[in-house]
């Protein structure tokens, strides 16, 4: 074991000029990620960032770690292959709502279903930025964009619901402007063993400015969001005077703490094996409900690559480590012998079988 080197944020800043639009929410995410990295205590060379295509996907170029800027939607597949080759690496997937939920939706689902030990960070700005402003799979129904001048006709994906539906073992949400909260969530996501999925509400200043305003504007945000904390009741509001309880219709219900006792409120359990409550929380959306921020689910399951290694170890224990000759000879073999090297006459020998004579 080599000496533990104390790294700082600067060690994770690459020599590349960051090229996002001034004021983009991505800057804040990059800054928090670079700040969190030293806290992981993982040497820089063991960290890999893999991205797809889109504004967010430029991210790996700016991290002084190993990295791949891959192709649209496919980052989880590269990350999976990399973890199979080297399970010791800490692998992040940086993606966006278009990259992860549209063109790469299938890969995102299956990476989570397998519980590959990768950390998926999805920047959700509900718009296509790099291609200049078309609607995305998380755009709210009716969103008017260049490609939907009369408003979109599609239901939007809820990334947290999708992740929970795909059996993801760590599911969380944070906001680009909440630096402390984001840093905490990123750290926990990085430390989780298994697939982590973090949705970050991220503002696109150019094409979708203010899309998260209800949960980011200082004046209103405390009334429009609820911060999830394990083991604590769901309380929110500027004056912390509102809470969430399960109503008689088995739906969440916003109640006033003036009228309802705190003991009746829903208590958050991020470690619940069943994703049911987490899923219910994920469906809470503005304006009817406060938007939950924090960790929805955090459970421990065997990771995919651990399972792969286990099977290899078990097969090796049962059958012994394979040799090439054993592989070649794992079928019926016959030997052709040179009877007499001079006249080239050959004789066939049947070591295993006799002629029916």
């Amino acid at each position: 074991m080599s000496d533990v080197i104390q790294l700082t944020r600067k060690d994770f800043v690459s020599d590349q000029t960051v090229r996002w639009c001034p004021g983009c929410g991505d800057y804040a995410i990059l800054a928090q990620m670079q700040k969190v990295m030293p806290e992981l205590g993982i040497p820089r060379e063991k960290i890999v960032f893999i991205s797809g295509i889109g504004c967010s996907s430029r991210f790996p170029y700016y991290m002084n770690t190993y990295g791949i800027h891959s192709i649209h939607g496919r980052a989880p597949t590269l990350a999976t292959g990399l973890k199979l080759a080297n399970p010791d690496l800490t692998v992040f997937v940086i993606t966006g709502d278009g990259d992860g939920l549209s063109i790469g939706g299938n890969h995102l689902l299956h990476a989570m279903r397998r519980n590959v030990d990768i950390k998926i960070i999805l920047f959700n700005n509900r718009i296509y930025g790099l291609t200049k402003g078309q609607y995305s799979p998380t755009s709210e129904p009716g969103t008017k964009t260049k490609s939907s001048p009369m408003g979109t006709l599609e239901q939007a994906f809820n990334p947290i619901s999708v992740a929970l539906g795909a059996e993801c073992t760590f599911v969380a949400r944070t906001v680009d402007v909440e630096q402390k909260h984001m840093a905490d969530i990123l750290l926990r996501a990085a430390q989780h063993k298994g697939t982590s999925f973090v949705e970050i509400f991220q503002n696109c200043l150019i094409f979708n400015d203010g899309t998260w305003a209800p949960v980011t504007d200082k004046d209103v945000k405390d009334d429009n969001r609820v911060i999830l904390e394990h083991g604590k009741p769901l309380i929110f509001g500027k004056n912390r005077d509102k809470g969430i309880r399960i109503g008689r219709d088995l739906q969440p219900e916003v109640v006033s703490l003036d009228e309802v006792d705190e003991s009746e409120l829903l208590v958050h359990d991020e470690h619940a094996e069943s994703p049911n409550l987490a899923f219910m929380l994920s469906r809470m959306s503005y304006p009817r409900y406060p938007v939950p921020i924090g960790v929805f689910r955090d459970v421990d399951h065997l990771t995919y690559e651990e399972g792969v290694r286990k099977q290899i170890a078990e097969a090796t224990r049962k059958r012994g480590a394979g040799t090439l000759q054993a592989l070649f000879r794992a079928d019926d073999i016959w030997t052709v012998r040179s009877h007499d090297g001079h006249n080239g006459h050959h004789e066939v020998e049947h070591p295993l079988f006799t002629m029916a004579e």
Partner: protein, 624 residues
């Protein structure tokens, strides 16, 4: 020769081609495989051609549901499963109808006469019973009531339904064929014991069926002749039978072993490549990792990720999967990471004919991606050659730091032939890997490290692995600066990178063996082939040149990009160039474009391999 209860004529023959044909549920692949295994073990040279429908259970008794297995065994070197079966074993009318056109004139037909019922005849599209209407006059027909005889033989085995009893019919047919060709039963009896150990009643039924078929041949007067095919004179050594897919899987494991690498095979199930995945999935005690991805694209992406991580990364697919992978293959091209992409070609376009072979993906492999995307392409020539070329593909991949495409096809994949088992020493002699993963110490603690610095000899970039301190770097699909790999859209940078990648692949020509000409070294006609048509071309040229004295030579391209460096010179020694291939002239187009000379294209797109006779006829037509 085993003793017989009655005097029979024994004829010694050099070769025989047998086709087993029946319903896809009749177990014909199994029957053919068992016959082949025994023939191989007693020392015959063998070559097989399975031919089965894509549907697992097509409607019983119909032409669509016919499954066939052709085996060629001989006492001399053979290269193909045989043009025309000498013997056809037809388990129902549809099997007879589907195969009769291929049968040699005057050949032998053994039919299960019980199945020639009005209903089955109708399903096969026969208006009249071909056994009675004189249409089979030119053949030796043996009507054997296999179903009835088999039921008698299996009578008394407890716990079997009639359906299960009838399912052992194929072993009756196999037993009879073993008798006719004087093959021992031991191997199949042993196999039955192993396979059905947990179902003793089924084992017993199959055992009885096999012996009943054998004894039927022995006692009935219908069969007057037995045939003996002497062992072939193969070079000394240990042999086993391999299909192309088996050989390919073993080649991949061997390459990983020789290179000191972990094999990671990422694939999505697709006919006819899936058997490679199945074989490798069962080799976990060889540290083989198999990853069944959610789709073809994911399989390619995971392959790239595994290559970045330092594994021997491989994906396997067929044409439709290649189409899906092409974007990610392009990423691999610009990331410049070593990996192997196996395309077991099938008849296209689109879904096409999944179980039928074609060589239609050559141009796709070379050019089916956006931009200038040079990828080395290799193609094995025979089932056993799949072993060598799998290793060779990885050698080139490492040497050029590039994905390499290996083009097999459905014919190679499922056909079998004897394979000379190499010793460890032979392997070490034939294949060497030079793999180097740099460390920071080589670059002044990493400060001088350039991820896209090129080796002056090979033009390859370094394979620096994540986990290596001090060599942290980022690579990606965007245009990049030479050396640093940093994003760049500068005209001179793009120009340099495009040309360097092309030059790097072209330079592999210096590291691949020159072609050797078979037959005439110069003269009237050169036959240029690639892939699975090797056997038929070899035999046809052998006949034309060595037996008929014609001025014909042949070269077979196992490297299609780059071409072997002496190909142009060899072509210049011949007046005519003939290019037989299972497509509409893709290699022919490449040769014309590369060497600026006329070539005669001989296309075949029937979902069937070339026959020797077709090639002989073409050679005769051209040379008179």
């Amino acid at each position: 020769m085993s003793p017989s209860v009655r005097p029979v004529h024994v004829e010694e023959v050099e070769e025989v081609v047998i086709r087993f044909a029946g319903d896809s549920g009749d177990g014909m692949q199994l029957t053919g495989t068992q016959f082949t295994n025994t023939a191989a073990i007693v020392g015959n040279d063998i070559s097989t051609l399975p031919d089965f429908p894509a549907e697992i259970r097509a409607p019983a008794g119909t032409l669509a549901g016919v499954s066939g297995f052709q085996v060629h065994l001989a006492s001399e070197d053979i290269f193909t499963p045989g043009d025309e079966p000498h013997v056809l074993i037809a388990m129902n009318p549809a099997a007879l109808k589907a195969s009769l056109g291929d049968l040699m004139p005057g050949g032998t037909i053994i039919v299960n006469s019980d199945e020639f019922t009005p209903a089955n005849l109708k399903k096969a599209g026969y208006d009249r019973n071909p056994l009675d209407d004189g249409s089979l006059k030119g053949y030796h027909v043996h009507r054997v009531p296999i179903t009835t005889l088999n039921r008698h033989a299996v009578e008394g085995v407890e716990g079997l339904s009639t359906k299960e009893v009838d399912r052992s019919r194929n072993f009756f047919a196999l037993g009879l064929t073993f008798w006719i060709y004087d093959r021992p039963l031991d191997n199949t009896l042993k196999w039955i014991d192993e396979k059905f150990g947990k179902r003793p009643e089924i084992a017993e039924a199959n055992r009885r069926a096999l012996l009943a078929g054998y004894h039927f041949g022995d006692t009935t007067e219908a069969f007057q002749t037995r045939y003996k095919v002497k062992p072939a004179e193969l070079p000394p050594g240990d042999y086993r039978k391999v299909t192309g897919n088996e050989a390919l899987a073993m080649g991949l494991v061997t390459a990983a072993h020789l290179a000191g690498k972990q094999l990671i095979y990422c694939s999505y199930p697709i006919t006819p490549a899936s058997d490679i995945l199945h074989t490798l999935a069962s080799l976990k005690n060889y540290s083989v990792v198999t990853f069944q991805a959610e789709d073809e694209i994911a399989a390619m992406g995971a392959t790239i990720g595994a290559a970045f991580g330092g594994a021997f990364a491989v994906t396997g697919t067929s044409g439709p999967g290649m189409a899906l992978k092409s974007e990610a293959i392009n990423l691999a091209v610009v990331l410049e990471l070593p990996m192997v992409i196996v395309d077991v070609q099938r008849a296209g376009p689109s879904t096409g004919m999944p179980t039928k072979p074609e060589q239609g993906d050559l141009l796709q492999a070379l050019f089916g991606r956006n931009g200038e995307s040079p990828v080395p392409v290799v193609a094995p020539a025979s089932p056993a050659d799949c072993f060598d070329m799998a290793i060779e593909a990885f050698r080139l991949a490492v040497q050029a730091m590039s994905p390499v495409i290996l083009l097999s096809d459905g014919y190679l994949a499922n056909s079998a032939e004897p394979w000379h088992i190499p010793t460890e020493e032979e392997l070490a002699q034939r294949f060497t890997f030079h793999i180097h993963h740099p460390t920071a110490a080589e670059f002044g603690n990493g400060h001088g490290f350039l991820p896209y610095a090129r080796d002056p000899q090979t033009l390859a970039r370094p394979w620096a692995l994540p986990g290596t301190p001090g060599l942290e770097h980022r690579i990606g699909g965007l245009g990049k600066q030479p050396g640093t790999g940093n994003v760049s859209y500068a005209p001179e940078d793009h120009d340099r990178m495009v040309r360097d990648r092309a030059a790097k692949v072209a330079r592999l020509a210096e590291f691949i063996p020159p072609l050797e000409v078979f037959g005439a070294q110069e003269g009237d006609l050169l036959v240029v082939g690639w892939g699975s048509s090797y056997g038929a071309i070899h035999q046809a040229v052998d006949r034309a040149h060595f037996r008929q004295g014609k001025s014909v030579g042949a070269v077979h391209l196992r490297y299609l990009n780059p071409f072997p460096r002496n190909l142009g010179e060899i072509m210049s020694r011949f007046e005519h160039i003939l290019v037989p291939e299972m497509n509409l002239g893709q290699l022919a187009m490449l040769l014309k474009a590369t060497f600026l000379r006329p070539v005669i294209s001989m296309p075949k797109v029937r979902g069937r391999p070339f026959k020797i006779s077709e090639l002989s006829a073409k050679i005769d037509e051209l040379l008179g």
